[in-house]
């Protein structure tokens, strides 16, 4: 049976490889993507408009600000949905309780985690804050931050991690992230521009219009980071313990 299933996989893989020959070459000037006026516009204008060296961040957080905002909202809704489904469920728990084992936390693993968790958190902040100059940003930093809490939950047990970052606080932080994002948008609207038109923030910040965009993007990324951190951890905590928040994986 295994060998039979291998045949279509190899066939499809070969087909895809064959089709990949038609792709334009890497960095080809004549390819459709490079020819279109949109990309040349972004490549030419990003630095002038926003003073952000990393074009991807500028496009994500500024030109496409609405999209990123609702992506964050989708992440938040996913977390809420999992919580809503699993919070009251007891069907899994009653059976599961009989099988809970007394596994004492491993000495070596916990000590290593003690040493590396602060480093991971600093690294997460670094990724978050340097999204403008190097690859990174709110989503990546948030995932790293959430991973540090998940690592605590894995090496001790879920109770220890939840006592450091409880689910209620998780929800508050997640909501706070969206409030930060939407707040920056609303603030720029109140100052006379459009929703998420960061350039208007120059009136409250002591910088030029372009740098106002730069700093507002950082604020927006921080909001995304908050939401992603909290939802990552809440999803792990709920899914691994089937809503009971005990013992974990």
């Amino acid at each position: 049976m295994k060998i039979l299933s291998l045949i279509p996989i190899i066939a499809i893989g070969g087909l895809l490889l064959w089709a990949a020959q038609d792709f334009p070459k890497w960095g080809d000037v004549e390819s459709p993507a490079s020819k279109s006026p949109v990309s040349s516009h972004f490549i030419g204008k990003t630095g002038v408009d926003t003073e952000v060296p990393n074009m991807v961040t500028a496009v994500l957080a500024d030109y496409r600000g609405f999209d990123t905002m609702f992506e964050t909202v989708v992440v938040f809704i996913a977390g809420m949905a999992v919580l809503a489904i699993l919070k009251g469920s007891t069907r899994g728990n009653s059976r599961r309780k009989d099988h809970e084992v007394e596994a004492e936390p491993d000495l070596i693993v916990t000590n290593t985690v003690r040493l590396i968790v602060p480093v991971i958190q600093i690294f997460a902040f670094y990724v978050l804050a340097h999204g403008h100059v190097s690859p990174g940003g709110g989503f990546q930093g948030g995932v790293l931050m959430g991973a540090s809490f998940i690592l605590i939950a894995l090496s001790w047990d879920l109770e220890k991690a939840v006592s450091r970052f409880s689910i209620e606080r998780c929800m508050i932080v997640a909501a706070l992230g969206i409030v930060i994002y939407g707040g920056i948008g609303l603030l720029s609207m109140m100052l006379g521009g459009e929703f998420l038109d960061y350039a208007e923030l120059e009136r409250v910040l002591p910088v030029s219009r372009e740098m106002a965009r730069y700093h507002a993007m950082l604020g927006v990324e921080i909001g995304v980071g908050f939401t992603v951190t909290a939802i990552m951890f809440a999803l792990y905590a709920n899914l691994s313990s089937e809503g009971s928040l005990k013992q974990g994986l």
């Binding site: 693993v109 040493l115 590396i116």
Partner: protein, 139 residues
């Protein structure tokens, strides 16, 4: 000669436009190749060793040193000039090395403990002899 004075000499050589930083590159190349050789040991050990625990020896140990040597070699090779940026890059690579130094033993211990609690008993000397004899008989 201490390391520090040697680095100063090298920096001076670079400024004079000599072949100055070639020695660093050669050290980098050499450590990369040595790392590759140790990785060969790991790869062969992974295939030839008889059971999971002995393979763990090959993987856990060979991995640490070969990764360290290769990363360190690349850190030295990419050392173009002696500006602050390149020093920071070297320190960053050293940080990755330190990270691997810390985590590889831990992850190998965690896997080993998981296997041991799975009632998968490690092979003893007698088992090894038996399996060897069996192999010979087959031949």
């Amino acid at each position: 000669m201490t390391d520090h004075s040697m680095i100063c000499l090298l920096a001076a050589a670079v400024e004079n436009g000599e072949v100055g930083f070639l020695p660093l590159k050669i050290i980098g190349f050499a450590s990369g190749v040595v790392g590759l050789i140790f990785f060969l040991g790991t790869a062969v050990g992974m295939v030839r060793f008889p059971d999971f625990y002995t393979r763990m020896h090959a993987a856990g140990k060979g991995d640490t040193l070969s990764t360290m040597l290769m990363l360190g070699g690349f850190g030295l090779v990419t050392m173009e000039d002696f500006s602050v940026g390149s020093w920071l890059l070297l320190i960053k690579i050293l940080a990755v090395i330190l990270f691997i130094y810390l985590t590889t033993p831990t992850s190998s211990h965690a896997l080993m403990r998981a296997a041991f609690e799975d009632d998968e008993m490690p092979m003893t000397e007698d088992d090894l002899k038996k399996s060897k004899r069996k192999g010979k008989r087959k031949k």
